[in-house]
């Protein structure tokens, strides 16, 4: 056989093999056309996960769309860092492809993370973690500043109390710091009250009296609810500026208990967290830029755009 003929036959064979290979490609175990199901574990910092129900719906929506399975885990005791860490370890060992976490102690968790060789992406919600792949949260400094500006807008001359329930949560601390700085910049007397969630209901009235305060700013949904409850229970007259969206908060706004809130879509938080976790697990570039938020005053809560944010359309 001539050399040319042999070369032609070899090329023909290679091309034929390429056709067969491309036909078999989808059947090969490692190159399956169907994307592998991603296992996502969402680990909260609370024992009660009802506050995260909208977030969970967003997570589930994204998981359905992008072919992922979701495990939604809460702690047996709120803000128990060790338990949360154990849960993280257990989920990683159990083969989770991505971890979404609301960290109890972002700094500690960051230190722990820096000493680990973890291949799965870690996504933080609320507070940034240094070594995490991504943080899904509104810009904490902007949020703190916006809340402070809302309070300044209706300030009545007394001390503005900033309820600090952040403990070691750096994201919340950043919000409070920004609010404090903004208020101070406007020469408004500020008192930062470090208090636990449980103390709000009982101790807040006396503290407000003590500091001669008629304006209170809270920086977390739960503390906002507690402050509102305290206000209604004790029939107190102070302006309350809070954070987050829940039916209770909406009800309080409707009744005028809460004067304004910084609201963002928890559904969007969950959706974006799951979407980016899946993208990172599949070695794709994350798409998250920033989570928009809005200051809603109680008088305007039924404006169309505010209504959409305050009352998620959830079937």
């Amino acid at each position: 056989m001539k050399k040319n003929n042999l070369i032609q036959l070899v090329i023909l064979f290679i091309l034929g093999a390429a056709v067969l290979f491309s036909l078999l490609l989808p059947q090969l175990p490692h190159i399956s056309n169907n994307e592998e199901i991603i296992q996502i574990s969402m680990i909260l910092r609370e024992s009660d996960n009802s506050l995260w129900s909208n977030t969970r719906i967003g997570l589930e929506q994204a998981s359905n769309e992008f072919n992922a399975e979701l495990r939604f885990l809460s702690l047996s005791k709120t803000d128990d860092y060790n338990e949360q860490l154990e849960l993280v370890k257990r989920e990683i060992d159990g083969g989770a492809d991505a971890i979404i976490i609301v960290p109890v102690n972002p700094d500690e968790f960051s230190n722990w993370l820096s000493n680990q060789k973890i291949s799965c992406p870690i996504i933080s919600i609320e507070s940034p973690i240094k070594n995490a792949n991504l943080t899904i949260s509104p810009d904490c400094q902007m949020l703190g500043t916006a809340l402070a500006n809302a309070a300044i807008h209706r300030w009545r001359g007394n001390t503005v109390c900033l309820i600090d329930t952040s403990l070691s949560r750096t994201g919340i601390t950043a919000r409070i710091d920004a609010a404090e700085q903004t208020l101070k910049k406007h020469n408004i007397p500020v008192k930062r009250i470090t208090i636990s969630d449980n103390q709000i209901l009982n101790d807040l009235p006396s503290l407000l009296l003590q500091y001669n305060s008629s304006d209170v700013i809270t920086f977390e949904p739960y503390s906002t609810e507690l402050a509102a409850k305290c206000k209604e229970n004790n029939k107190l007259d102070f302006k309350l500026y809070g954070t987050g969206v829940s039916t209770y908060i909406a009800g309080c706004m409707e009744r005028g208990t809460i004067n304004a809130i910084a609201a963002w879509s928890d559904y969007a938080t969950g959706y974006l967290a799951a979407q980016n976790a899946i993208l990172l697990s599949r070695n794709k570039k994350p798409t998250f830029d920033s989570l928009p938020f809005r200051i809603i005053y109680w008088e305007d809560m039924y404006e169309t755009e505010n209504e959409k944010l305050l009352f998620p359309v959830i079937s």
């Binding site: 023909l12 091309l15 491309s22 490609l25 056309n33 879509s265 928009p292 209504e307 009352f311 359309v313």
Partner: protein
């Protein structure tokens, strides 16, 4: 353009002229096949895309029709609730004395999955009765609500609102429902007096959502619902849109009439089908991404590319094989004909290839065979002709020579010069014997020299010894053979032209010697010589031959005979100077006995 096309055609034609038949066939077939394949493939892809697009449109419109029916049915059921409440309860009740709460509760309970509340307001917005909750919120101002105002402004119609939060009634547990409000103007009877009122049926938004969700369209398409102003009523990503994380072209869609449109939104091409929902002016919009092959997976691209390459290469390969099957026998035939042209012996022409080529080969074989026979015949004829010519040449002995010689013998006998006449007769006899040589053309050199010697003996007697002759042969020429009768014509020339004016001092020398493989015979005289133009004309076939009264065989005759027998490189060379003499050199191959015999046999 025409010139450009002509130039292109000429270039192609020029290229084709330089190509082999295999290349012409293979390239032409492959090109035509590829063009055909691309054309057919393109047509099929276009047809497929069109059909696919039509199917998608048909499917989308069918799904929209079905969804529209479902939605219509749902809305109709809501209107029936309103109608029932109005025509069967309110119209038959005097609200001053009758309570309609029980009927309202009953109606609500029957449809509680679809309803959030039913409420009846008077013309100023005061609540008359409602179910399931009966207390308005302090902040509620129904008379300022859009549904209330719409009902009073257009009394004859039903009014459907866009989805909103129902915030009329005081929920103890902070419940908020997304509802679509169906309101209508009603006439209320109070103690026989008719007053205006508004009947409100708050439909649970989830009911609409259930109608629209889980509707699947091709290519991952979806449907959404908008009101006449483009406000979204239902969208599968409604919450993302509300959060500002997703966008929809709903405002543009609200301007579309019923039908299907192509649009590009956020860089994505898509088909949008619109169907208006009766009563409400809402529009159901079906969106199908207009995906093409370009949006397929890399595996599809890889498969398509490798299939195309494989097809083209297979096509080219098969075409080359077929063209080779056709052209190879033709090329072999051409090669054979070339070999035939250069005279290769025992040429074999194989009859291979397809039928026509086999027939052609067969014909050429027959032709070659016929040609061989013809050539053999021609060679034989040429040989015969040459032989005849040689024989004619050899037989051209001038009868005058014989007559003059015999006349001289008679004259000498009458004069009593018997010795001389005997010598002359003896030489003549010897001369003729060697001339005949039993029919041989090739004779030993010594015979040829002897023949020359006898000739010169006769001529010396005739010319009364006006010249002398020296005939010598070098020792290495003893066994050499030569063409016969080649020296005598030269000697005759020397006698008649060189010695004519001599006075007993003429000298003619004949010397034979060997020059490697050649035999050289030099014949020189000291006669009057010749002018150069005469020398040049002697061997020139185009010039008239100089006739002598000698034996009749001229110098040119000898030259032609030698060249006919041995080739162009042999023959005569003449050197002459006027008044100095002439020298003629004969060059022949030095034939041994064996070669001489072989030549004789070939003849």
């Amino acid at each position: 353009m025409h010139k450009l096309f002509k130039r292109f055609a000429l270039n192609i034609a020029g290229l084709y002229k330089k190509m082999s038949i295999q290349m012409v066939i293979a390239r032409s077939f492959t090109t035509v096949a590829i063009i055909g394949m691309v054309f057919m493939g393109g047509s099929m892809v276009l047809h497929f895309l069109n059909t696919s697009s039509e199917l998608i449109i048909e499917n989308t419109e069918r799904v929209l029709r079905q969804s529209n029916l479902n939605l219509d049915s749902y809305l109709r059921s809501m209107m029936q609730i309103s109608d029932t409440m109005y025509y069967r309860v309110i119209k038959h009740s005097d609200l001053a004395k009758d309570s309609i709460s029980n009927s309202m509760d009953l109606l609500y309970e029957e449809n509680r999955d679809s309803l959030v509340s039913i409420a009846l307001f008077n013309g100023t917005g005061e609540l008359i009765t409602s179910t399931p909750l009966s207390t308005l919120k302090q902040s509620a101002k129904p008379q300022e609500s859009s549904w209330f105002l719409a009902a009073l402004s257009k009394m004859e119609n039903f009014h459907f609102s866009t989805p909103h939060i129902q915030r009329l009634f005081d929920h103890s547990d902070n419940q908020y429902h997304w509802v679509v409000s169906l309101s209508r103007y009603v006439q209320l009877t109070y103690g026989g007096v008719t007053k205006s009122g508004v009947l409100l049926v708050d439909m649970n938004f989830a009911g609409i959502e259930q109608v629209c969700q889980n509707v699947e369209l091709a290519n991952g398409g979806y449907i959404y619902l908008i009101d006449a102003n483009g406000e979204i009523i239902y969208h599968p990503k409604q919450q993302l849109i509300y959060a500002g994380l997703h966008e929809e072209n709903n405002i543009k869609a609200s301007t579309y009439a019923d039908g299907t449109y192509k649009e590009t939104f956020l860089g994505e091409k898509r088909l949008v089908s619109v169907k208006t929902v009766g009563y409400t002016g809402w529009k159901l919009v079906g969106v199908v991404p207009n995906k093409t092959f370009s949006s397929g997976s890399p595996q599809i691209w890889f498969f398509g590319l490798s299939l195309i390459l494989f097809s083209i290469f297979l096509l080219a390969f098969v075409n080359f094989r077929i063209s080779a099957y056709i052209s190879d026998p033709i090329q072999r035939l051409e090669h054979s004909i070339n070999n035939l042209r250069i005279g290769t012996d025992n040429l074999q022409i194989e009859e291979t290839g397809c039928y026509e080529v086999q027939k052609l080969t067969h014909s050429i074989r027959s032709m070659v065979s016929t040609m061989h026979h013809l050539m053999d015949d021609i060679i034989e004829q040429e040989r015969q002709k040459r032989r005849s010519e040689l024989e004619i040449l050899q037989s051209q002995i001038n009868p005058h020579f014989l007559y003059n010689t015999l006349d001289s013998i008679i004259w000498m006998t009458e004069a009593g010069r018997y010795d001389e006449s005997i010598q002359m007769v003896t030489s003549l006899a010897r001369f003729f014997r060697i001339s005949l040589s039993r029919g041989k053309r090739i004779i030993p050199l010594k015979d040829e020299l002897e023949h020359a010697k006898h000739y010169m003996t006769i001529q010396q007697i005739r010319f009364k010894n006006k010249f002398t002759t020296e005939i010598t042969a070098q020792p290495d020429t003893e066994n050499i053979y030569t063409l016969k009768l080649i020296i005598q014509p030269i000697l005759e020339n020397a006698i008649y032209h060189g010695m004519a004016s001599c006075e007993d001092d003429g000298l003619i020398r004949v010397n034979a010697w060997r020059d490697n493989d050649d035999l050289i015979i030099d014949i020189s005289d000291n006669g009057i010589g010749m002018r150069p133009e005469v020398v040049e004309s002697l061997l020139d076939e185009n010039k008239p031959e100089i006739k002598t009264s000698g034996s009749g065989m001229g110098v040119r005759n000898v030259h032609r005979r030698i060249q006919l027998n041995f080739g162009e490189q042999y023959g005569l060379s003449i050197f002459s100077e006027p008044d100095e003499g002439t020298s003629v050199r004969i060059r022949l191959p030095a034939l041994n006995e064996e070669l001489a015999k072989q030549m004789e046999e070939n003849e």
